[in-house]
Symmetry: C2
Subunit: 280 residues, 2 copies
């Protein structure tokens, strides 16, 4: 399989700024970077993403995938990111058919960051069939422990969302962005690069953000049947997860969680709920 | 001044769902509603907003205002919301000039909810001149106390962002939505209906969400020179706030806060920082 050529553009993820607190004291605080990345597909401007900028090439690849503008990674020849001008130049092998038409309809969603989903996404939800996969409560606790132990921009600067991809309790990738939809798109891009070595069916998707309709749809599009969130779920997120038979677990911190739907995919081990947390 | 005719469509803001927790116990949990609202301007489909649905008419009015599609409230004759079909029909008096062109460019931002800002917004930032207005630390603490005391969907169901508009320490309006940009747009719509009785110059804007570039720009567009957030700020949010001379206060809970920029608008009273919180 011909994988696209990707640059490895890097940029600082945090910045020190001076603040004044309630005691009138001046102090330096770390804040996350946020920079515009304008995506050009075959020299045609597509969109400008505001991003932390940790993994811009994976972000762009996942964005094209999740927006259904590219259906196979082999369609992408290269992604060239240049932070000096804030551009990501995507070169496809044969162009994207009907791109004007397919990017015309606009749906503004509740998702953080990637609020604009091009139309037709909901139409495809019915077509999605998720693999049979389960998670045990022990694996879920292992996952939450790995998240607690993870060094992050959030810990140093706050104001970013984190997403992670797990196989059982094993963390495969951890991504942060100022917009959580950038983070999930970055994971989608990375997953495309790993396939078929890393099929989605045995994966668990974790996010610090709320489980909105858009997050559920994107997880399903990636073929990941189990999502775990530190936050809650919205009504449309729940409705779509139920429709898809996706397992949605929210309010997941330490030993606590709420399984909102798809509990048949969750093997409960209530005896573990009483055990003390192991230090990361 | 001819104000538009608005329906007062109402819909339930929360829903009870059954969950399973870590002890294997089934329990009922409240989650926020999330429903699509498709906006038609003079019978032309403009956008679909995913919203909690508390104040859809103000939301649509503020959306049109913050997207700069309508420059005066008098251009809007009526907004008719029908939850049975999830539609908001906007009737303008003379149509919106060049609407196709003005809604063509797409910028996907880090903002929650209203991630899609139609182009040209940044171009207008330079043109904004904010009124001279200040806030005292005592007023800031009064504001935070009012937020603590506020009954909310967040307290009952979580997973929503809250925004509020204050005059000094007095709360004028509190709005929640699954997307915080819907919440700020709802405030923008309400403010338009109050003007000129309630000029923006002496107002303070509060949000539970992060101060991203889009939030700062929208506050400035509304003419509100002071923003307070329970969360932090992103780099572009800070850059634009500095450019505008807007006062951005983050991490504001109880007695603590960090003033990121515009501290000349904040009258510090450090002696108040030590005082215990008064019960709401």
């Amino acid at each position: 399989m011909a994988l696209p050529h990707l640059t490895e553009a890097r940029a600082p993820l945090t910045r020190e700024v001076e603040t004044v607190n309630e005691h009138g004291e001046r102090a330096t605080t770390s804040i996350p970077a946020e920079r515009p990345l304008t995506v050009y597909v075959d020299k045609r401007e597509l969109v400008t993403l505001m991003t932390l900028g940790a993994r811009p090439e994976w972000l762009v690849l996942g964005y094209l995938r999740n927006q259904r503008l590219v259906t196979s990674i082999e369609e992408v020849e290269s992604i060239t990111v240049d932070w000096d001008v804030g551009s990501a130049a995507v070169k496809t092998r044969e162009g994207i058919a009907r791109i004007e038409e397919r990017t015309a309809q606009r749906v503004v969603t509740t998702g953080c960051g990637q609020g604009s989903m091009f139309g037709g996404l909901m139409d495809e939800v019915d077509a999605i069939s998720l693999p049979a996969a389960r998670i045990t409560q022990a694996q879920l606790y292992g996952l939450l422990g790995a998240i607690r132990a993870q060094e992050s921009t959030y810990k140093s600067a706050g104001s970013v969302h984190g997403c992670a991809l797990f196989r059982g309790a094993q963390m495969l990738l951890f991504v942060e962005d100022v917009g959580r939809h950038n983070a999930i798109d970055t994971i989608a891009g990375w997953m495309w690069l790993q396939e078929p070595q890393e099929p989605a069916g045995d994966k668990v998707f974790y996010t610090t953000g709320r489980l909105t309709s858009e997050m559920i749809i994107k997880s399903a599009q990636m073929g990941v049947p189990i999502v775990v969130s530190r936050s809650g779920i919205t009504q449309m997120g729940l409705d779509i997860a139920q429709q898809l038979g996706l397992c949605a677990i929210g309010r997941a911190t330490n030993r606590h969680f709420l399984c909102f739907t798809g509990s048949e995919r969750l093997q409960l081990q209530p005896e573990l709920a009483a055990r003390p947390l192991t230090a990361p």
